[in-house]
């Protein structure tokens, strides 16, 4: 069975990120003739004597004009083993919010290191963000090996440095691969220049990394999105709760607990379209019916009597501020968490994080765009949540500006 792997790449103009993506697409034969022709034409118009594969991933006009990637762009390719979605994000510090966006749905992060430069500030930043967003897997690509004569010592030194640094991160699955995106070494095809490297190619790693446990299959969580009431003669009494399983496994006949009301019942049916299922797990979208008629609406969460989420109005969270206008103490927002919406106020900025050094700064009263901070929020109604570490779905939230309706912050509940 073909699985889906979502991964994110972060990088700046010259570390070869676009070239690497272009190479993955090209060597896995995911580039169509007309796309390649367009890129060939642009390359020769710019006077390049090679086909600039990075042009394949440069989207909007302003980006092409400035030669930078300013937003998250999504790319797709497939091999006989897996289908891949790449969230391609710019790597400069001023685009932290784009990286956070791309990372939020990723199973895996590709970290690029220029073999000539070794670990730089950007490496720390990207790795830290991957850890903060709880991306389960990291692959570190030591790129531009061709420019250091494919030397093993250079690669080993970088691997060693990275391991020393990453012991402080909360990412447990880290793999390394020496590559040349420009020439294609160890991207899809094995390198002819690095006999000393016995590991897998990058594509092989992407095809085989173990992602089956990336979703939480332990703590039963089913946020109710919508109540299905056909109100037709045939289905007069039908009341189904539509949603997407956020954690755990739900089975027909099992006892459940509805929050915040606290009512209990048993699962009568689990349906998907006209199919009847016996169980559902994350990330399945299903419709659940219950044995008892109880009052349930959007925003409620179905859990298990023996395993319930936390419930609180005071929410400790790591927050990434994403708006040009700064965030001040006591500002109010709409807060979106699973299918629930409520109001929230910023009560305290505990500390701001320097994401390049990991240092904490206390006594901050304002957050600027791209800042990351630990804060305390107070909500109008209690939230039923898990820590982000335990569940990325029930542990995440966004803040929305009351007047402009813009999404202004991303939060990861501690």
């Amino acid at each position: 069975m073909n699985q889906l792997l979502r991964f994110t790449t972060a990088g700046s103009v010259d570390d070869g990120k676009s070239t690497l993506i272009g190479r993955l697409l090209f060597d896995s034969k995911s580039i169509f003739e007309d796309q390649l022709e367009a890129v060939q034409a642009s390359s020769s118009k710019k006077g390049f004597d090679y086909v600039d594969l990075s042009l394949l991933t440069d989207g909007l006009r302003s980006e092409r004009e400035q030669g930078i990637t300013i937003d998250v762009a999504y790319r797709y390719f497939a091999t006989p083993k897996r289908k891949f979605i790449i969230a391609d994000t710019p790597g400069h510090i001023q685009y932290t919010r784009n990286m956070v966006t791309g990372a939020s749905t990723a199973n895996l992060a590709l970290i690029l290191i220029d073999a000539r430069k070794g670990l730089i500030e950007q490496t720390f930043r990207h790795s830290f963000l991957a850890s903060l967003l709880k991306i389960p897997h990291i692959i570190v690509c030591v790129n531009k090996m061709d420019l250091v004569d494919f030397k093993e010592e250079v690669y080993e030194k970088i691997v060693e440095d990275y391991k020393a640094f990453s012991s402080k991160l909360e990412v447990h699955d880290i793999q390394f691969v020496p590559i040349s995106a420009l020439l294609g070494d160890n991207v899809v095809n094995r390198s002819q220049h690095m006999d000393w490297y016995k590991g897998a190619t990058l594509l092989h790693m992407l095809e085989t990394v173990h992602i089956e446990s990336d979703y939480n299959h332990i703590d039963g969580r089913f946020p109710v999105q919508y109540v299905v009431r056909p109100q037709t003669r045939e289905h007069q009494d039908f009341r189904g709760y539509a949603g997407r399983v956020a954690g755990g496994i739900f089975r027909v006949g099992e006892e459940i607990l509805v929050l915040p009301s606290g009512f209990t019942s048993k699962i009568k049916t689990i349906q998907f379209g006209d199919e009847q299922l016996t169980q559902a797990f994350a990330p399945m979208s299903v419709t659940i019916t219950l044995e008892d008629e109880i009052d349930i609406s959007r925003g409620d969460i179905i859990a298990k009597p023996t395993n319930r989420p936390e419930s609180n109005q005071d929410i400790e969270t790591m927050l990434c501020w994403m708006n040009q206008r700064p965030m001040n103490l006591n500002s109010k927002f709409y807060l979106k968490h699973t299918s629930r919406e409520t109001k929230a106020v910023l009560k305290e900025i505990t500390y701001k994080l320097d994401i390049s050094s990991g240092q904490r700064m206390e006594g901050v009263s304002q957050l600027m765009m791209n800042d990351i901070a630990r804060v305390k929020l107070r909500t109008a109604q209690p939230l039923e949540f898990d820590s982000y570490r335990k569940n990325r779905i029930t542990g995440s939230l966004i803040l929305v500006d009351e007047s402009t309706n813009e999404t202004v912050a991303a939060g990861m509940i501690i």
Partner: protein, 301 residues
């Protein structure tokens, strides 16, 4: 390896259904833009699954250019009946008659660009606050950065530089009066995914997609079907070819491909082996490198 994981197609299906349900939960007057093409067909079937056994709780909207393939219209009417859903038609001909838009002239004239005005008028007249479409991010560069929930200002315009960040599966559909959203539930699907899904779910599609004999002309490397709206250049003579269509747009600008694929399996094999994108056959996308981006900004699909 445990048993608790989904195939990529099942995961995409669940994601799309989740998005469709969010639309119905967050908006008052949603609608589904239905072109008769395979992507909007998939969207309509997903909508049925999302709310079963209830009916689809929003209408299908068809922007009728008046230059449709007859097969598309036949399919549309069959499908509306099959799903028991309401149909709203926005007519480009009416927009022309009312003087809202001016018909293009010349040999490559197309009504494609005119659709935007009719679409925005239809949205406004019906007070739709969310219009779902079958656009996919793999189709075109400008679409690669499109959000699932894409905000449009009161003029229906898209501002690619000022898009809302979209995190996890938390979609922000809040808006001011007069603004609306375009929503793309199958953003993450590729052309191949759509075909595999149609096949797996045994969903009928318009006959156009299957190989058939047709009277065509060859213009600038594109195979175009003859029709009352196709003006022939001197020296162009129609011939019969065995072709099929990969997309289902306006008759005078939608190119065919030579093909013997007369079953779904054969189409999937052909798509897998194809070295050209499906939009490579669309004359409207060849009007410059940023043709799609420019149209999207002004409110195109």
């Amino acid at each position: 390896m445990n048993q608790y994981y989904l195939s990529h197609l099942k995961e995409l299906e669940s994601e799309a259904i989740y998005v469709i349900r969010e639309v119905v939960a967050q908006f008052e007057r949603p609608a589904l833009l239905f072109s008769g093409g395979k992507d909007s067909i998939v969207l309509a079937y997903l909508s049925r699954k999302a709310f079963y056994p209830a009916r689809i709780p929003f209408p299908l909207v068809h922007i009728d250019t008046g230059h449709n393939f007859p097969e598309t219209m036949e399919y549309r009417d069959w499908m509306v009946n099959e799903l028991g859903v309401r149909l709203v038609v926005g007519s480009v001909q009416e927009s022309i008659d009312k003087g809202r838009v001016k018909e293009e002239t010349g040999i490559n004239a197309s009504r494609n660009a005119l659709q935007t005005v009719t679409l925005l008028d239809t949205i406004e007249q019906n007070k739709f606050d969310a219009a779902m479409g079958g656009a996919r991010r793999d189709e075109e560069k400008a679409r690669a950065k499109e959000r699932f929930f894409s905000h449009r200002d009161e003029f229906g315009q898209w501002d690619p530089k000022n898009q809302r960040p979209e995190l996890w599966n938390l979609f922000n559909g809040r808006k001011n009066i007069g603004e609306h959203f375009r929503v793309f539930p199958i953003s993450n699907w590729t052309e191949m995914d759509v075909w595999q899904y149609l096949f797996a779910e045994n969903i009928p599609i318009p006959k156009l997609y299957y190989s058939h004999k047709r009277e065509v002309i060859l213009r600038d490397g594109t195979i175009l079907s003859t029709s009352p709206w196709l003006k022939l250049k001197p020296g162009e003579t129609p011939t019969e070819m065995t072709v099929r269509f990969r997309t289902c747009g306006d008759m005078p600008i939608t190119g065919a491909v030579e093909s013997d694929a007369d079953t779904m399996e054969k189409i999937i094999n052909e798509v897998a082996a194809s070295r050209k994108t499906e939009r490579g056959t669309r004359a409207d996308d060849k009007r410059g490198e940023t043709a799609m981006e420019d149209r999207k900004k002004s409110g195109y699909f």
